[in-house]
Symmetry: C2
Subunit: 508 residues, 2 copies
């Protein structure tokens, strides 16, 4: 160190000295491609000439950012809770006012500005329990098992945190689907738990195969202690909706293999395909009888960010835990108390979602129409997306049965693969970056979610307004054709699935 | 296992198999005493006869739960952001509407229902930076260094998480004051970092002594790797406001010893005592010249839960990082992106706090009056609390210079100490539980915050309405006298500070 002390001292906190597990965290949905998209938006604002006039952010399931209008009733109740003087001033329907008054009465000091109990406002936990009972045809739900959260991510990380222990061969392993939503891989890296991949079957519309679960589990047991199994249904990024049979098989597997189940069911209201239905893990579990319903440990997650409301900014959600050891439940209660409480504004909005206007109430008609309009438009977009993508040579897209994403497989020319790898980049990242630079369309490379080796994908949301989505899909397919042509001097790789050629077979 | 599978199976997740670090977490502010308070409230509602008619929750700094009214301007802007149709409908002042429109324009899809950028809405980060510049007399602040958060707790845990690494003797140690706010001990337990206690000097109005910092640091270096120093100013639970000189000394110490500084400054607007002023660590750091301002790494935390607004339920806050390694800043950005974004409703409310009505604007007068009324009432309550407590024999309370708590020392009779210890309970927990059962007053035992061995305290907020606070203080002192009498057959212990007798001296 120089004598005057002005020379550059080494920092306390450096890339070398920081938490090594945080360094391993990756989160593609907001990764480098999104950083570049933000830069491009700024450049456009500054008048820099680009081959496009706007950036279309199809990278994240953020309905309102894509122009979806909030559901009127939800926001009216929220505004009254925010500013109770409006109870007398604003020209809102009677049921809006009643709902707001009921919620305010349940808040500390009758204000959304007070902390709530750490697991959430008692009344709202009761409302959530009743909502779950209605959803599951009367199977009982207890407010004691409901924990409100700051979006679903918060609750998922909390449960994973409880599950993690051990070192070396007894380190906790958690099974996650591949492709997955990268919150899971990020949280597991951060917690220094072992990520155990099980592959969804792209050839069978991303079905979950018990044989594959077993393969992944048995192999993992050689080096860690698998304790939990995550399922995302409807699927993110894959958009499939699991059959009742499949869920039963998964539950039986969890019972046999002593695994804690994490059911990420945040897209439970987003089911579009003919013949597809959402079956909650809880309902199936209870229908399988006491052998299962009395023992399989389950946490199910839900959120106000998706569904028909798309209220991502409020950061609201809940989890229901089933068959949790009462002493662990106490530990969970303690753990959530350290962060004091989930945002009360998100709790209030969640309540309105689980406890909506009923037939005969003044807001019922408008509410139902708005809800239906969102869901039927999403269904149209799902069909449109699948249709357009599957007309393009070299692109193959499974039906978007639910959720709000397509995860098409794309063939990429060997030369593109070579170029990307020479740059230390995944080939689908190269594709997505070039797509962004040329068209302004921001999608996320499949490598950010995981995919079978030698296959390439991207995830796009189906959320842009219908006309814009149509143009976007057209541009994506045209760009893919052009990209393929420009790089094509060798054989294509990434023709995917069971028929796909590995990088090695393609001579790379 | 029984053949029919119905016998009780062992759970996957048990107290034995769960994350051992989570088990170690303690959080007194919402601990068993609060659980009991909630039970008592329910019993009262059910008509069970008690020696009191209501539970007074003086356990947590939750102003609005104690009846403080929200600041009108903040809530009006929030309501408009929630429900933009009110822009034309509601009879709100022009500046409310302008503020709401400006904020909505900065939201994705012009809606608070869209996710924001992970470090927060760009415009609000800019407004926070300007607010800090004004606070610190023009010392520059950059939006790049501002991260909005889900309350201050979220940001504090995030920075601690970055700092934690190593095992055995190279495990990260973090210095925290004793008494402390238990978020720190809880987060450090959860992260498996080493908690290094330095004791505040109760005899000198909870001053921070550099000699004590040095003692704690050198001793800790024998078994871990101390890397960060936390300061809470104004103090929680202790209510002291640090002098400028003290802050300078701390910064010099951090420079000499290569420590990352965490300045918990969430009570910066809550300074009441004549002659006490809030000095931000950042301002003092920059006034000490480039030797320090160019190298000492600092994170400062602020919140919308405290101050004059007390908007705890919104879960809003921010941190500013200074001199952070740019590569670590990138890692921080990545880490916060996994949770997507802080609640947008909290971000919006934060903006209004840092960017309030200006003289000449329609809402200025009302806003200023409401703000001033809250702060001057708090100042009155601070003086009242100190005054009443210090009149009681066996209770000694330092001046409540700032924040919103008193942390009086209480003498407890040896027999009470014996009884508590026989029950495996800390003696001040016994006192607080009995206080709660007899008077309905809920305060938190000093053992939940840490205290010098053989001394006993409790933390109470000064937030109840003035008349209720007066009655409450009276009841507390009367109860203490009665408690002392009932248990007095031996010598008192816990006469505190340097003159205090240890348990051993008292013959226990």
């Amino acid at each position: 160190m120089a004598e005057n002390g002005l020379a550059q001292r080494e920092k306390v906190l450096t890339l070398e000295s920081m938490n090594p597990f945080v360094k391993k965290v990756e989160y593609a949905v907001r990764g480098p491609i999104v950083t570049r998209a933000v830069q491009l938006e700024k450049e456009l604002q500054q008048g820099v000439k680009k081959p496009f006039s706007e950036v279309i952010r199809a990278n994240i399931g953020d309905a309102q950012a894509m122009g979806q209008k909030p559901i009127t009733f939800l926001r009216q109740v929220s505004a009254l809770c925010m500013c109770p003087e409006l109870l007398t001033e604003a020209n809102f329907p009677k049921d809006v006012k009643e709902k707001a008054q009921r919620l305010l009465a349940a808040c500390g000091g009758q204000s959304v500005g007070a902390y709530s109990a750490s697991p959430g406002i008692e009344l709202i936990r009761q409302d959530v329990a009743q909502y779950i009972e209605r959803r599951d045809g009367g199977i009982p739900a207890s407010p004691e098992n409901i924990f409100l959260s700051t979006g679903a991510s918060d609750a998922i990380v909390t449960i994973l945190k409880l599950l993690v222990s051990g070192e070396g061969r007894s380190r906790t392993g958690v099974m996650i689907p591949i492709p997955q939503y990268p919150l899971y891989s990020a949280a597991l890296a951060d917690l220094n738990a072992v990520q155990i991949n099980y592959y969804l079957d792209e050839e069978k519309c991303w079905a979950l195969d018990i044989g594959e679960l077993r393969r992944a589990l048995y192999r993992a047991r050689e080096h860690c202690c698998p304790r939990a199994l995550c399922i995302i249904n409807p699927g993110n990024p894959t958009g499939q909706v699991q059959t009742r049979q499949c869920i039963e098989d998964v539950i039986r597997f969890a019972w046999e293999e002593q695994l804690f189940l994490l059911a990420d069911e945040v897209y439970q209201d987003n089911v579009y395909a003919e013949g597809s239905h959402f079956h909650s893990f809880k309902k199936v579990l209870f229908e399988m009888g006491p052998k299962y319903s009395g023992s399989v440990e389950l946490a199910s997650f839900h959120s106000i960010s998706k569904g028909f409301m798309g209220e991502c900014g409020f950061r609201g959600g809940y989890m229901e835990v089933i068959n949790m050891d009462p002493r662990v439940l106490q530990q969970l209660t303690k753990l959530v108390s350290v962060r004091l409480c989930p945002p009360v504004t998100g709790q209030v909005l969640l309540d309105v979602v689980v406890n909506p206007p009923q037939p005969g109430e003044p807001s019922y008609l408008q509410f139902s129409q708005e809800k239906q309009a969102v869901l039927s438009t999403l269904a149209k977009k799902a069909r449109l997306t699948e249709g357009v993508l599957n007309q393009a040579p070299g692109i193959r897209c499974n039906p978007v049965q639910g959720a709000m994403y397509a995860f098409p497989q794309i063939q990429l020319p060997p030369l593109a693969v070579q170029e990307a790898e020479a740059q230390g980049q995944s080939p689908d990242m190269l594709f997505c970056l070039k797509l962004l630079e040329e068209t302004g369309i921001c999608v996320v490379p499949g490598s950010g979610f995981g995919q079978k080796e030698g296959t390439f994908h991207f995830r796009m949301t189906i959320l842009p307004p219908l006309e814009k989505l149509e143009v976007m899909l057209q541009k994506v397919t045209e760009f893919h054709a052009k990209f393929t042509q420009e790089y094509s001097r060798g054989q294509l790789v990434g023709s995917g699935g069971s028929g796909g050629k590995s990088l090695k077979q393609a001579g790379l």
